[in-house]
Symmetry: C2
Subunit: 237 residues, 2 copies
């Protein structure tokens, strides 16, 4: 078991459900929105990769002696709502969602993983590696924008909406799952994260937390900007 | 390239599209019909395995110098129709479809693979191995029937409908793709299958073909009966 069981189980649980539901939503987008069989197969490949990730996380939860279904349950409503609010209306929106929406969610999980035990961190980072998904999506979106540059504004707006919804659901989750939230904003180093509650009672430095939150958002914004530039939705650095 | 390019390409094409579309339909069933997260994850696992199969077939088509999309295209309408006619209305129907429907389709592909080159045959048999899917589905269906034996008749009828639709689409495909049909019923041994058309002109033995068709149906019926018994939908042997 890790130093911070509740936070670790929450992190693995939310990420497991995120991967399982991403798998199912991407498969649905592939089935209903792909313009060609080749595109359908390519997005299906992204979906199938998400399932492989889910399996790694589920197996880790089982190995920790935790029922995966119970670990995922607290996050079902938030993640289902996020998907309901960001249902793509066409193929390009589906691609941008697969890249930008999944990307920003991944950044949150990666941030949380900075404060868990090394084994969990390694697993989370492995699961979040984006290389496979990136190449295909970036190529397709850039080609579409090159052909019709007027799509840029609309898709950039779509991306912004997904990020807004992600922040809103993230806020909701943080309120409901303090152990998970502590992984994101605690100033305590990894090994002490489990005791952060007690430190709080001892008068933890609230100003340091605010600085840390500021840094967190700076990192998230930077990563998001990098993805938007990769797709050609904002000017590159 | 194989001895029988057209038949082999058709076999790989129909099977590739069958796997891709099975992946997407199973994912949809998992998303919409699974009663628990654990069930959803389990059927998602069956779906993800289908995608892995699809990839093997697509890569083989590319390796043969064939565009996978072109190889799949002739079979899209038939397979989509089969799925439209056999859309499960509930979780148990989804499970029976995953086992019986996919099973009978697999038997056809396996029969066709008897008459292609050894490399293709090996790939097809590898793709069709059913072990993973079987265990989970059989267990769930048997448990449901033990709890409510009155479901047996209804599910047996559902299974029969799927087989009927499969035979109907198989018939349609055989008429449209003679190279594929020849793989199923030709009396010519594997290496000569490519020349079956010419043999036909030389007066091929129609009686021998009828015997062969009879044997084919006997094998298909036997395999189907075995699956129905495994699920508890007919008395076992």
């Amino acid at each position: 078991m890790s130093d911070s069981p509740a936070g670790v189980v929450d992190l693995l649980g939310v990420l497991a459900y995120a991967e399982l539901t991403a798998f199912l939503r991407l498969a649905d987008d592939a089935a209903t929105l792909a313009p060609t069989l080749t595109d359908r197969a390519a997005l299906s490949g992204v979906a199938a990769a998400e399932y492989a990730h889910f399996r790694l996380l589920r197996d880790r939860l089982s190995w920790l002696g935790v029922d995966p279904e119970q670990a995922m349950e607290p996050f079902v409503a938030s993640l289902d709502d996020w998907h309901a609010q960001t249902r793509p209306g066409n193929w390009l929106e589906a691609l941008v969602k697969a890249y930008v929406g999944t990307g920003i969610a991944g950044d949150f999980y990666r941030e949380a993983a900075r404060r868990v035990d090394p084994d969990t961190r390694k697993l989370v980072n492995e699961v979040l590696a984006e290389e496979v998904r990136s190449e295909f999506v970036v190529e397709r979106v850039r080609a579409a924008l090159a052909e019709n540059p007027r799509l840029t504004g609309k898709l950039a707006l779509w991306a912004r909406r997904m990020v807004g919804e992600a922040l809103s659901q993230g806020h909701r989750l943080a309120a409901a799952r303090p152990d998970l939230a502590l992984l994101l904003v605690s100033t305590a180093p990894a090994a002490d994260a489990a005791f952060a509650d007690e430190e709080d009672q001892d008068g933890r430095d609230a100003a340091a937390d605010l600085v840390e939150i500021g840094r967190l958002f700076a990192r998230l914004t930077e990563q998001h900007g990098r993805r938007m530039a990769a797709l050609g939705l904002v000017p590159g650095p």
